[in-house]
């Protein structure tokens, strides 16, 4: 069996985790390209593979070209004629939640999406076994190729359309980014009273644990859902002069109240 050869364009959080796991689990030959030379270098050295910031050096005989760059950069890269020539109708994929598969059409006759639904950091190597990998491709053949590789990384591989993926990404913004911001606000509130944020960890753990057995809607507790106006108005006073927090508290409480009986 010949070695799977993958070119990564991009060296950020997703590229870093994907390239590492493709190397480890599929013994793939990896080449890293990034216009930010330093990022490319750091990742390539971690993986002990080649790198460059010069797109002229992109090999033209790779099996897959992975575009793992920011959404804005993806738009630009798709119009890169040199890259198009290098890819020469071989399989090109992106790994972005919010971007339609058809953005890749100008680049190659064979294209797809390989979207691992997780929050990644280049400083942390994740095990992909339980990470859902959302696959989409422009043909059954390319779909089979991508899902075959995906199954070597994860037990949870799904056929997800661009339309579905867009909504999964939106839901993930609420479940990860906005949840994380609620934690940031909590931490700030406690910091002002010199209380360690860790006091909330058992509560946070239980909040997540409960999701396994019930819909979050049915789990709601607290002043908003029981419409406890005394506590709510006291909380708004405590938030003091922070207008953003007062608005956030008021709006979320209102939405909890208004949707509880739907």
């Amino acid at each position: 069996m010949s070695v799977l050869k993958i070119v990564f364009i991009g060296a950020g959080n997703i590229a870093s985790n994907l390239s590492e796991v493709f190397k480890k689990k599929l013994s793939a030959e990896i080449h890293i390209f990034s216009r930010t030379e330093n990022s490319a270098k750091q990742l390539a050295e971690k993986l002990n593979v080649s790198f460059s910031n010069d797109f002229n050096k992109i090999p033209d005989e790779a099996d897959i070209y992975f575009l793992s760059v920011s959404d804005n950069a993806l738009n630009e890269i798709v119009n890169n004629q040199l890259l198009k020539k290098k890819i020469n109708n071989k399989l090109v994929v992106h790994s972005a939640g919010a971007i339609d598969i058809e953005i890749l059409k100008p680049l190659s006759a064979n294209y797809g999406v390989f979207y691992p639904l997780q929050t990644f950091s280049k400083f942390k190597s994740l095990d992909f076994k339980f990470i859902p990998i959302c696959i989409e491709a422009n043909s059954g053949f390319n779909y089979n190729t991508l899902s075959k590789y995906a199954f070597q990384l994860s037990d949870d591989v799904r056929k997800i359309s661009s339309e579905q993926r867009k909504y999964i990404h939106l839901a993930a913004v609420f479940a990860n980014n906005f949840v994380n911001h609620m934690f940031t606000i909590s931490e700030n509130i406690l910091k002002e009273k010199e209380i360690d944020f860790k006091i909330l960890f058992p509560l946070i753990q239980e909040t997540i644990e409960n999701l396994k057995n019930s819909s979050p809607k049915l789990l709601q507790t607290g002043p908003a859902v029981r419409n406890d106006m005394n506590v709510i108005s006291e909380h708004l006073k405590m938030l003091g002069a922070n207008e953003n927090l007062i608005k956030i508290y008021t709006l979320i409480s209102q939405d909890i109240k208004e949707t509880k009986d739907e």
Copy 2:
């Protein structure tokens, strides 16, 4: 050693968990009183203890009187002359996050707060070992009594003032109620596209896992923190006619942006 005798006024989520763990871990003799007879009955039958909805039957020789009722009910109960007579200056405590210790002053010369920082359900019995128990009392003697019992339930017992507890409770509203509402919104977004909310579980688990090693503020990713206006405006379009969600998305995104460099 004589048996610890505890009267619970209230039979809701907290009373249910507290009474059960006091019975189990301290072999306490429990008496359940609730104006909602059915709740009192259910809890008493689960614990195999006595119950009543008649405050005349409250024993006057208990060691501790636990007021585990809603914040509104607490206000009323404090002015109950019969209860005051029964307590007869013995130790009375409440278990509410948002309520000042001094609310109990009219009821007894000995009072305190016993606040387990957790989200409870009467349908689920929790292990208290890692639940922070926040203790406050009107005297050193009463503080020692309460913390002695607390340490028999949990490894994490803390001296927390009413002022601190109020802010812990506010922080908990963000970290539990509001986080849970973000999950509800996520679930609704996915449901419309017939995607199982469970696809987000590995992401949610990792979001929490990352808190162990870093401040949530430093962990923020996503369109808001990188000010990706294309994705943000696309998301706002996808939220369609739901004005509450558009406001919530906009406000939290704005707060993420405005606070990222603080």
